[in-house]
Amino acid sequence: MKRSPAASLLARLMPVLATTAVFIAGFLICSAAYPNFASLRVVMNLLTDNAFLGIVAVGMTFVIISGGIDLSVGSVIGFTTVFLALAIERWGFPPLLAFLVILAVCAIFGAAMGAVIQYFELPPFIVTLAGMFLARGVSFLLSTESIPITADLYSHLADHAVRLGGGARLTVPAMIMLAVVLGGMVLLHLTRFGANVYALGGSRTATGLMGINVPRTTVAIYTLSSVLAGLAGIVFSLYTSSGYSLSAVGVELDAIAAVVIGGTLLSGGYGFVFGSFLGVLIQGLIQTYISFDGSLSSWWAKIATGLLLFAFIAFQQLTLHLARRPRRRPRLATAGAAP
């Protein structure tokens, strides 16, 4: 309270700045190791390859800031790809109609999970775990094979890209992800809904007492997360041109890891969409480094992600610890020196 607005803003942005610093440092290290790394092409591929993860991470950020968690997103992606492949290839849906239908199905699914969490006062962890089983199970029931999607729209969208020179292409999945990240930032930081999400993460009871419609906000948050997972599924099917019930297994963990690396508190009430975006890019950077190296085995990616998670969480605990200390003393000081 005593700090200047600029200083308090800086303190608020600290975790995101730390994530940004890690991303830049990581990129510089990679560029120093491999001269070809520092190119627009690598950056654009980083965006394309992680587009679906970025979209899911935006939804996960909302859920986690509100104090919840959504384990179902990976299964929803898998379900979406299978549904799209079947709808377009077997049932003869036009692709755009299939997109609309699947987004509506995902919205209903998310709203149902949110409603169960809200009205039955059940822990989000276990409700979305059931949702995870259900979505994956239904996609197994639909089909257990990998179905190629051959619709014209898919090949058009795959070819369509903004060419940036040097072989760099801003692809459709990357564009969708950037749009979702921007939209998510606007929704979280500039709208009343976003403010309600932060309030929920701070204290559910207090939020209710403030007159905010807690049930509607909770349902909306899980609906948003599932719709974004559905959108990520559409992007994933564009990226692979197929639908497979086993696709995107474990993506929920990558998304949660990205959100945590991005500086969002898992206890809720604090976090940024942009941080999660950087968290996704850092994970992508690790993967890209390993594929550039060629001799490093893929498991190093898991270990490196685990270490990064630990480093960021330890950093958060430290900043929380430090932030709690000095605040008590200034309050006494300002009480005496109030203008």
Partner: protein, 334 residues
């Protein structure tokens, strides 16, 4: 008085789970009439029922550790990865070292993983979901590091006995699970530890003020969970005579959590039942076996599981007055 309370409480809690298990077993009997047939062959019992016990052993072992963690209002997402680590260690050492060394190394690794989790939760004060997520993500990488990305196989009959052998006619995994269950019950229910765990789960601050060493108990409980996971990993490895770091124990942490929740232990901590968690694990396995026996495609497994979880969850929901009130529509909407 507490004993009286328990005596009155436990049967009323346990009935729904035991009835559920009996219903599923009966359903299995309907789809496969020879379900309850048990025959003796080469000094070992065989049959679908024995198979349920045998296949359910790893998840039952995990749920023994998990129920204590959840009773402390924690959660341990890393048990699947710990299984992979310990299985990898056991399989890589099996042919070059004696069984006691192999077991000591694998169980020691499980305890170390639990110590790490407990340290993060109790000392650094990190939320259990996040703290154990770290090892869940990194653990599988560590297991692959140990096996160097290959599927390590072994021929040692000593270790293989733990997975495929039998003691007094019962498969060794079942005997190990029973042993672990009895040991845990003796330690937890035989001492004041049970009360301390329930107190810590109910209200950590009040428990600490009442003089309970909550940090020490938290670390100990996570280590116990790591030990159970290590044993499950050894059994899983010994069963397939090898270690597959990619798939050993994959998603079993979710099954274990599910078993605990089906067993009636609340994720919000407090009251818990170790035996009912094991019953929960058996319910899950009986469902899996039943779906396989019935000739339904195994794909239906996850859907059935989801429906069962939802039913159990709704039955436990604080919003629903009683177990038999059943329908959510009986209550006015808030």
């Amino acid at each position: 008085m507490r004993v009286n309370g328990l005596a009155r409480r436990l049967p009323s809690i346990g009935t729904s789970q035991i009835v559920a298990l009996l219903v599923i077993l009966a359903a299995n009997w309907i789809v496969s009439p020879q379900f309850f047939d048990i025959r003796m062959q080469d000094g070992r019992l065989f049959g679908s029922l024995i198979d349920v016990l045998n296949r359910g052993a790893p998840v039952a072992l995990l749920s023994i550790g998990m129920v204590l963690v959840i009773a402390m209002r924690g959660i341990d997402l890393s048990v699947g990865a710990v299984m992979a680590i310990c299985g990898a260690i056991a399989a890589s050492l099996a042919d070059s070292h004696a069984l006691p060394v192999v077991l000591a190394a694998a169980l020691g690794a499980g305890l170390a993983c639990g110590l790490w989790n407990g340290f993060l939760v109790a000392v650094l004060g990190i939320q259990p979901i996040v703290a154990t997520l770290i090892l869940m993500v990194a653990g599988r990488g560590i297991a692959q590091l140990i096996t160097e990305g290959r599927i390590v196989t072994f021929t040692s009959p000593d270790l293989a006995f733990l997975g495929g052998g039998s003691v007094l006619g019962l498969p060794t995994p079942v005997v190990l699970t029973l042993g672990m269950l009895v040991l845990t019950l003796l330690i937890v229910r035989g001492t004041a530890l049970c009360l301390m765990i329930e107190a810590t789960g109910g209200n950590p601050r009040a428990a600490a003020l009442a003089g309970i060493g909550t940090k020490l108990i938290t670390v100990a409980v996570y280590m116990w969970s790591g030990l159970c996971a290590a044993l499950a990993g050894i059994v899983a490895s010994a069963d397939i005579l090898g270690a597959d770091a990619n798939n050993a124990g994959l998603w079993l942490e979710l099954d274990a959590i599910l078993a605990v929740v089906i067993g009636g232990t609340s994720l919000f901590g407090g009251r818990f039942s170790i035996i009912l968690a094991v019953v929960g694990a058996l319910i899950i396995q009986a469902m899996n076996t039943g779906i396989l026996l019935s000739g339904f495609p195994p794909e239906t497994n996850l859907v059935v599981k989801a429906v069962v979880v939802l039913t159990v969850l709704l039955a436990q929901s604080p919003r629903l007055g009683g177990y038999f009130a059943g329908l959510p529509f009986n209550r006015p909407k808030p």
